[in-house]
Each structure stands twice: as C-alpha cells, then as structure tokens.
Symmetry: none
Subunit: 196 residues, 4 copies
Amino acid sequence: MSKGTDFLNKDREKFKIAVDIFSSKGYHSTTMDEVAQAMGVAKGTIYYHFKNKDELYLCTTQLGISILEIMAREAIGQHTDSREKIVALIESYLLFMHDYAGIAYIFLRELFGDHNRRDFFREATKSYQKLIQNVLEEGQRAGAFAGDLNAEICASSIFGMIFTVAIHYLQVYGELSMDVVKDNICKLIFHGLLEV
Amino acid sequence: MSKGTDFLNKDREKFKIAVDIFSSKGYHSTTMDEVAQAMGVAKGTIYYHFKNKDELYLCTTQLGISILEIMAREAIGQHTDSREKIVALIESYLLFMHDYAGIAYIFLRELFGDHNRRDFFREATKSYQKLIQNVLEEGQRAGAFAGDLNAEICASSIFGMIFTVAIHYLQVYGELSMDVVKDNICKLIFHGLLEV
Amino acid sequence: MSKGTDFLNKDREKFKIAVDIFSSKGYHSTTMDEVAQAMGVAKGTIYYHFKNKDELYLCTTQLGISILEIMAREAIGQHTDSREKIVALIESYLLFMHDYAGIAYIFLRELFGDHNRRDFFREATKSYQKLIQNVLEEGQRAGAFAGDLNAEICASSIFGMIFTVAIHYLQVYGELSMDVVKDNICKLIFHGLLEV
Amino acid sequence: MSKGTDFLNKDREKFKIAVDIFSSKGYHSTTMDEVAQAMGVAKGTIYYHFKNKDELYLCTTQLGISILEIMAREAIGQHTDSREKIVALIESYLLFMHDYAGIAYIFLRELFGDHNRRDFFREATKSYQKLIQNVLEEGQRAGAFAGDLNAEICASSIFGMIFTVAIHYLQVYGELSMDVVKDNICKLIFHGLLEV
DNA sequence: GATGAATGAGCATTCATTCAT
DNA sequence: CATGAATGAATGCTCATTCAT
C-alpha cells in the first residue's frame, strides 16, 4: 500500500472527490489543479502524497475496485448453492453500480481504454470474471448448470450484461431500480429467452 | 454529411488509419501530428477538411458506427423468424467486432466516457439496443420468447454481453473465434444456464 | 501603379469591400479567406492580382489616401485667401471622414502603428501636414496669421485636432454633424479659447 | 486589481518591458515567447499571472493609462485658475508623452483600432477628454473662456492636438522639446491663429 | 507536512502562400 | 484568368511537475 493509498484511505472524503472528478471528466480532462481545489489542498500537497497524476488516478481506482472485490467475495461467501451464488453476485454488482457508479464508469472506461493502463484493468476484470467462472464450473460439476456451456464465455457474458444493463438504466432513467433489473437478468440467465 | 465525412468516405485508407490511431491511443493521447503523418498529409490538410480534432474524431467514429448499423439492419432483413433474427444480429455484431475492432473499442470507451461526447454515443447505443428490443418484442408477441421478460433489459443485456465477450476474447486470445462464441451466446440466451 | 491597384481601381466595389474589412477588423485579424469570400472570388484570384497580403493592404490604403490628397488639393485650389484655404481644408478633411471613415481609421491606426508600415504612413501624414503648414506660412507672410507661431507645430495641431474630433463624434454620436464641428474648430483655431 | 496587474505593479521593470515590446511591435506581431524571453521568465510564468495574451496586453495598457490619469489629476489639482489648469494639463500630457511614449503609442493606436478592444480605450479617452471639458466649462462659467464654444468639441480638439504634435515631434526629431511645443500650443489654444 | 509560484515541453490551431488543373 | 485543395511554419495556450520557503 503506497503513501497515496494511505492518504485516500484515511480521508474518504478526498477519495470520493477524486472519484467524482475522474469519473465525470475522465483522466485527461481532469487537471491536478481541479483535484487540488476540489480537495481543498494545494497542488503541492497532492504531489507530496502521490508521485504523479497517474499514481493518484491508479490509487483512486484501485481503492474503488477493491471495494467491488470485497463486496463480490462477501456475496459468494454467504451461499453454498451455485445458483444462489450467481444471484448474490448479480446483486452485489448491481449494488456496487448503485453505490459507486463513478468507480464503475472509470472501471469500464479503462477496460476498453487505450494501451497505457489497460493491462491493469484487464487483470482486475479477469479476476472478477474468474470469480463468476469458478461458480459456473462448480455448478456444472454439481449438475446444476448445463455442462456443454463454455464457462469462460458465460462468465464474461454475465459480467458484461450486468454492467451494461446497469449503466443503461442509470443513463436512461437516472436511477437503478435494482429489483427489476435483478429479476430479469436472473430469468434470462437461468432460463433463457425461449418460451417453454 | 460534412466536408470531413466526405474526405474519409472517399479515402477509406485514411479512415482506417484514423480508426487505428484513435482506438489504440485514445482521443487525448493521439496528436494531430501523428494522424497527419500516418495519413501521409500535412497537418493543415486535416484542418482543411475538419474544423478541429473533435470533428475529425466524431466523423471517424460516426462513419464507423454507421457501418455497424448497416450490418445489423442487413442481418435482420434476411430473416423473418425472430429467433433467427437474434442469431443473425449476434453474428453481425461479432463480425463487426472481428472486422472493425478498433471502432468497437472506441464505441464502448465513449459509451462509458466522460460527459462531453457521451450523449452522441448514448443515442447510437440506444438505437442498436432498440433494434434488438424490437425483435424481442416481436418474438414475444409471436409466442416464441417468454412473455414475462422485460424486453428493454434483455436487449441491453444481449448488447452488452456480445461486446464484452468479443473484447474479452480479443484481449485474452488475440483473436475472435466467432463460431465458438456465437454458439455459446446463443445457448445461453435461448436456454439459459440451468440444466433441464 | 501595380497590377493590384489596377484591379481595385477598375472594380470600386471590391475596393470598398477591402476597406470595410480592413478598417473594421484590422490588418492582422483580417484573413485572406475573408477578403476573398467578401469579394466573391477565390483566394487564388487575389494572389493573382496581389503579390501578398501586404500588397493588397497597401494598395487598398494607398488608393484610399490618394482620395484624401485629391480632396485636400481641390479644396485649397478653390481659394486664394489663407484663412479661407484653412476653412476649406477643414471642410475637406471632415468630408473625407464622413465619406471614407474606414480609410481614415486605417490611416490613423497605421500612423501610430508598429514599425512595419509606419514609414509609409508617416510620409503621407507629413505631406498632409505640410499642406496645412504651407498655407499657414503663406498666411503669416501675408500678415493674416500671428507671425510668432511655429507653423509646423500649428499644422500638426490642426491636423490632429480635426481627425480626433471627427472620430470622437463618430464614436460618441454615431454620425458626424459637420457644420457644428467645423464652426467650433474654426472658432478655436482662429480666435482661441480666451474671451476677448 | 487582477493578479496580473499586481505582477506588473510589483515589478516595474517587467511592466516597462511589456510596454516596450507591445508599443514597438504591436499586439499581433508580439509573441508571448518574445515577451517571456524579454522579461527573463518562462512563458508559463506569464500564463500563471495572466489568463491570456489579451489580459497581459490590457493590464499593461491599463496600468500605463492610469499613470496618465494620475499625472493629469495632480496637474489640475495644483491650480485654481482655469487657464492655469489648462496649461498644467498640457504640460502633464507632454511630460507623459516624454516619459511614457510607448504607452501613448499603444493608447492612440487602440483608440483608432479595430472593434475588439476599442470600447475599453474609448472609455479611457472619454474620461480624459471629460477632464479637459470640465476645466473648459468651469472657465466659461467664470467668464475666462469664450462662452459660445462647444466645450466637448474643444476638449476633444485639445486632446487630439497635444498627442498628435507630440508624436509628430518624436517621429520627426526623435525627441520632444517640451517648452517649444507647450508654448506654441498654448498660444494657439488661447489666442488662435489670427493676428490681432 | 504543506504550499504555490515558476517552469517548459507538448499540442491544437491558424493562415498566408503555392500550384496543379 | 481563375480556382481551391494542400501546405507547414508560426504561435497561443495547457498542465503535469518541481522546489524553495
């Protein structure tokens, strides 16, 4: 944990400010002056705690993403049934989108972003998708999920679908009605589109 | 159609160059010098055809996105059965990702991007999701798809899942094996995860 | 007479357009594109007639200033009395300001302008002031004007006062009421401020 | 008082440098690089204190013009007699031209300049002319000056004449012999041209 | 620890000028 | 004679970073 992460951890208000600015303006359009002013400190102070802008951004994002990781692991941990685990994961992702939409935006943006930081976010994504994938494979071995499905592809699908729907909702309706979204995603994931 | 779109339309090579650079380096990290040099023209030439960097970027992206729209509409047009339409849409999206991955990156990046250009991309996204949504609702009326599903949420889900999986594949395996991905997504979408 | 002067002389409409643009926007803020568009010709056409922007500007201004010279010489020529000559000169200057305010602005601006073109305008000014000075000296020799006055200083004074008042009027009242201005300037010049 | 005015006020050397460059090369032909180099600071330093080139120019000119205002008000304040006030005003203007010729050039140039900044300079000019006008009206009420003269026109005349003569002298002789100029202008203003 | 004035490399943009048609 | 697409040198401005206090 770097000096900077420490700084943001101790002062969660400043963390939120950093997330707000970076998520609403993007990395490049956010200036260090703006961050400093929004945080109510001098620019030099930020450079005292962070080596450079990139470190500030990365620390901010890392801290935010670690929250998602904790939420997801906790969600899974509370269940033994694969299906219930999937539901819990969906719930936790949606909750994260609801509570930390700024971070989510940054995360997705960087996931599709340019070379510079993509690797870091790819790793994070892989680990989240792996979380889903593990539950899927576990479920397949237990005979709960169809064995002929490629768990990797399904995990990636579920990951992408949740975030896309959540952001669609946030953008179109301004708010995320979690129950409706959760129910529909669960139905789609578990039973598919076809009428039986 | 602006002067700039004209320029890119007539010289598809330059269009591809613009897409390549913007998708690999991102908007901000791409300099007009680089674009000019890569296109083999003077910087002034670009400014003769485009008002500024933003217009160059937007024209490039718009042209790219219009390709997706054409592909998607053609795909749907060749089928009457709702289920086959969905399959065709998935195929066309994957084909687009395969042939125009750069555009797809830009598209997704901006979809989650900062306020400046988000609106433009949101509209484009909405129109694609609407395409899916219409097919879904048509299928529901025909009794092919489960009537209790929210078509809007499902459309957004399908949209997000396809792109996410495709990019995951491109990032992890460097190439998109379309058949495998298509088959799995179809299975998941049509029948769901559960073993029957 | 250069090719350019010819061009402007033959097409007085284009001359007026050039004066309008240069006087309202200044030399540097006027682009060749603007001039070409306002004249209704292609940029290349202008470069066909003028070597460069500077020549266009100089030809335009020279032509304008020559008008003032003709007006002033005609005014003087119609009188033999020194005092009447002065009145006629004032009238002609005011008339010029009234009819060719654009030229007058350019003239004065350049008179106080930077090094580049100052010399040319200085010469023109000197010649106008000399015109006044000659009349003054003539009048002094004839005993009409006070002999202890420095004719050079007085000529310069009169020149400056006329233009300044005229522009003051144009700027403050939007229009030049020539009679009022002329009367007052004559009174001031001939009798001075003091109550007798 | 803006940050920039502060900067120039504290470091009068830099103020003089700015005046020198702007007056000798004009606004457009002066580059920020030149100003920075002449001042011995980095370009960024200038942009730290001034929002842009225009603000630098305006602050510089404003500061210069305020000097003229102070000089003029001091000159008037030391006298009670209207005629003596006029003489003092003339003296102060000539002194200003002598000490701050650069500012005077900028001032006059802008007074006849293009639309952009003209308004600002017009206001300044009006206030100076008003200064003269007030003294003239005061003198008229006291019976010292001819009552049938339009004070506004006379004030503008006097203003223009002083500056024009002073600049004429500077340009022709390279130096301003103040006594000669002052005496002649006073004679002309007070008694007029006519031999009595 | 904290500050904010100073820096300068980097970049978008402008525009006079050219020249092939 | 006339055109207008192409050029590239020139320049205003930004902003991450440093460092003396």
